[in-house]
């Protein structure tokens, strides 16, 4: 997937430009774009600070997914990190150099999901 970056969620919610924080920053890539995010925060927080508009997409019913609980329960913030699919971004600390991919409709099961339902074998 490719990500659309807009002004940070925090700033949008606060209705102001926000305070620049002077803390340390680490480089990560999000859908192949190089970005700097605050060190010591969760990946979900970092992506929201960046203004990422879509963490994932519901495979069956469609619709954008974004973090909901931020405490490891709702599983709405799944993203792929390096070679690991479906990590909970809210439970994953940012780490310099991590490659993050947001998730589209198509999962790694796509190759086996082409057959439509029909009646029983006798029908």
């Amino acid at each position: 997937m490719s990500s659309e970056f807009v002004p940070s969620w925090c700033r949008l919610l606060a209705g102001e430009t926000g305070n620049a924080d002077d803390g340390a920053r680490v480089p990560i890539t999000v859908d192949s774009t190089h970005v700097l995010v605050p060190d010591g925060v969760t990946l979900a927080a970092a992506l929201m600070l960046l203004g990422v508009q879509r963490f994932g997409t519901r495979p069956v019913h469609g619709g954008v997914r974004l973090p909901y609980c931020m405490m490891g329960v709702c599983f709405e913030c799944l993203v792929d990190v390096d070679d690991t699919p479906g990590l909970q971004a809210c439970m994953t600390p940012v780490r310099a150099g991590m490659r993050v991919a947001t998730r589209g409709v198509v999962s790694r099961l796509a190759p086996v999901s082409k057959v439509e339902p029909h009646g029983g074998p006798s029908q």
């Binding site: 409709v105 999962s107 339902p117």
Partner: protein, 376 residues
């Protein structure tokens, strides 16, 4: 005749069995109260797998096979009725179901079992045994370790939580008084019926129905009934949501309408421990991957344990108290499959005392005889 009581009928137990009964009883112009205990309750209705399942049920007791089949046949109208009354869909899908077998010996055992059930039903029991090639055409992604399957078009699945929600809404719309926090501590026969001592005070009722799952064992003996039910644990794993690829349920793996895979079908005799163990979760996950190897690539997101409510022979217990007329017990481990019959003929029986066809074999007196074999 209306008794001078708080209510006409109290259903003890707000799970799928109790809610189905209350939903059906509310049709009889009775004042119905549905009592639920609290969040420490074991609540099989919150943890079950969601199959509407016929195949393999009733080995050794044809009347149970017939009863399960009748329930499956009643499901489409039952689901439509719930949707019409509440706008909530129990998400029934009933295109048939597969039981997967991993080698030829298991396949032939399976066939022998289903043949025996078919014979006990006089031949009226449609199923087919499928070899690997026929199975592969219907279930994309089936693993090379699967030798074949049995298939019946009687089977299906539903969303058990949405079913419970629809039943609760329908109960409320039909005027059932639903009361949580009312764990029933004691039941005493009284002049007008029964007096229940609950965690929140006393309730008088003309009739009482035990639908409290594993809690039935202790309540039944207070009113001349018997419900020797015991827990049997199943662990269930849930994966992240993926595209729909599995359009039929199997007892090991099913895919919900939002794309999650639900993996399960463990059976453990561990008392009242409803936890999970890493060894069993590994075993369930490994079997699911054997069924559908592509599952190896997706993530598990949660797991839980839940306790089945098992009678000594695995069949339901439907009984009326001889010593305390107006007391009934309804208990089974198939609250989803049998819901339409609990809302229909079983509720009618409790309201009218007219024993419905098909349940004569399910009284608890059968346990007074010696050894019976566990049946799932």
């Amino acid at each position: 005749m209306r008794m001078p009581n708080d209510t006409d009928i109290v259903v003890i137990g707000g799970g799928l069995v109790g809610a189905s009964l209350a939903f059906g009883l509310a049709r009889h112009r009775a004042r119905v109260m549905l009592l639920d205990a609290d969040d420490t309750s074991l609540r099989a209705a919150h943890g079950n797998f969601g199959l509407v399942w016929v195949q393999n049920k009733g080995y050794g007791l044809g009347s149970y096979a017939r009863w399960s089949r009748r329930a499956a046949n009643a499901w489409p109208a039952f689901a439509r009725n719930l949707i019409d009354e509440t706008g909530v869909s129990p998400q029934l899908e009933q295109r048939g179901g597969f039981h997967l077998c991993f080698d030829d010996q298991e396949l032939s055992k399976r066939q022998a079992r289903l043949d025996s059930i078919r014979a006990s039903l006089g031949g009226d029991y449609p199923f087919q045994m499928l070899d690997r090639a026929a199975l592969g055409a219907m279930l994309p992604g089936i693993g090379p370790g699967v030798a074949g399957a049995s298939f019946t078009d009687m089977d299906g699945h539903a969303n058990p939580l949405m079913l419970l929600r629809a039943l609760y809404l329908a109960c409320k719309r039909r005027g059932v008084q639903v009361a949580g926090g009312h764990r029933v501590e004691r039941i005493r026969p009284s002049s007008g019926g029964f007096t229940l001592d609950t965690a929140q005070g006393r309730i008088d009722t003309a009739r009482v129905v035990l639908a409290a799952g594993l809690g039935n064992a202790g309540l039944a003996e207070q009113i001349g009934l018997s419900a020797p039910v015991r827990p049997n644990r199943g662990q269930i794993l849930i994966t992240e949501r993926v595209e729909r690829f599995l359009h039929y349920p199997t007892p090991y793996v099913r895919q919900t309408d939002n794309g999650s895979l639900q993996l399960g079908d463990s059976m453990e005799d561990v008392g009242f421990d409803d936890g999970v163990t890493s060894a069993m979760m590994q075993s369930i996950a490994a079997r699911a991957i054997r069924c559908f190897p592509a599952l190896r690539q997706i993530r598990m997101v949660r797991a839980w344990g839940a306790l089945r409510v098992m009678s000594p022979d695995g069949f339901p217990i439907y009984d009326a108290s001889a010593r305390c007329p107006g007391a009934f017990v309804v208990t089974c481990h198939s609250g989803v499959t049998l819901a339409p019959l609990h809302a229909g003929p079983i509720a009618d029986w409790i309201a009218s005392d007219m024993l419905p066809d098909g349940i004569a074999d399910f009284g608890a007196q059968r346990f007074e005889k010696e050894s019976v074999v566990y049946e799932f």
